[in-house]
Symmetry: C2
Subunit: 148 residues, 2 copies
């Protein structure tokens, strides 16, 4: 239900948050998140255009978050690469019904709203801080990683 692109964007941003405020190159992010390098590059370009990350070319450059992890929500990342697609008007095209969705679409939109709310209330900092046996990205925490 979530596209690959969203999955990749979230992985990348979580990794950047873990390393913040240091810049990470696309190659570094790709290795850490197991996302195809060349495609990740496109995804990051999108995040950059959306203002979620900042890119710096040249030696010592790379990608950085434009906000502190505590101020960046999952929702912002998702919407940057592929808006959630809330249902605002009748998909059947009956303009007359405009905002008043029928029971079916009201429920579909409610479902989207709960996802939106959950994502809006989760910051990257929370994800990193959560005590768990499985650190973000299902790997050893980057800070603790020894090899690779």
């Amino acid at each position: 239900m979530f596209s690959q692109t969203v999955e990749y964007a979230l992985r990348a941003v979580v990794h950047l948050a873990a390393e913040a405020p240091s810049a990470r190159t696309t190659d570094q992010i790709a290795d850490a998140t197991r996302v195809p390098k060349a495609y990740l590059s496109k995804v990051l370009q999108g995040l950059s255009r959306a203002g979620v990350v900042h890119s710096q070319r040249g030696i010592g450059g790379g990608m950085t978050l434009t906000k502190a992890p505590a101020d960046l929500t999952i929702l912002e990342v998702v919407n940057a690469v592929e808006p959630l697609g809330r249902i605002r008007t009748c998909p059947l095209g009956l303009a007359a019904h405009g905002v008043r969705l029928c029971p079916l679409h009201k429920r579909m939109d409610n479902a989207l709203a709960t996802v939106e709310a959950a994502f809006a209330s989760t910051t990257l900092a929370e994800i990193l801080a959560e005590p768990t046996d499985s650190p973000p990205l299902c790997e050893n925490s980057p800070k603790l990683r020894v090899r690779r």
Copy 2:
């Protein structure tokens, strides 16, 4: 976030529920739900293979629900055409983490779980029964419709 196919399948099934237990032809459903006929035919084939609808050829034939609207949930329809894609194992491929999702994927899966729960608890009968100014499918209720 929901695919066209899911949208179409739900529209079709809601319409069938509204007309239950009468059979409706693909053309009738397509007209009522504003879905491209030829494509709807494929979607209905899928629903038929999944056992959600029953198809009957020949004169007087068409599509019918295999269950009463009160017993058919939105989730069953969605899963029939395109499973919701709950995250059961680490997408990074670290088999070691298996069921234990990292905080990121745990939250993504939680979001999917809320959608799943909402869809599982809504039957087609409820959608039809809901008092509203905008009857299902954002049209006048099929039963009340005069022309077209």
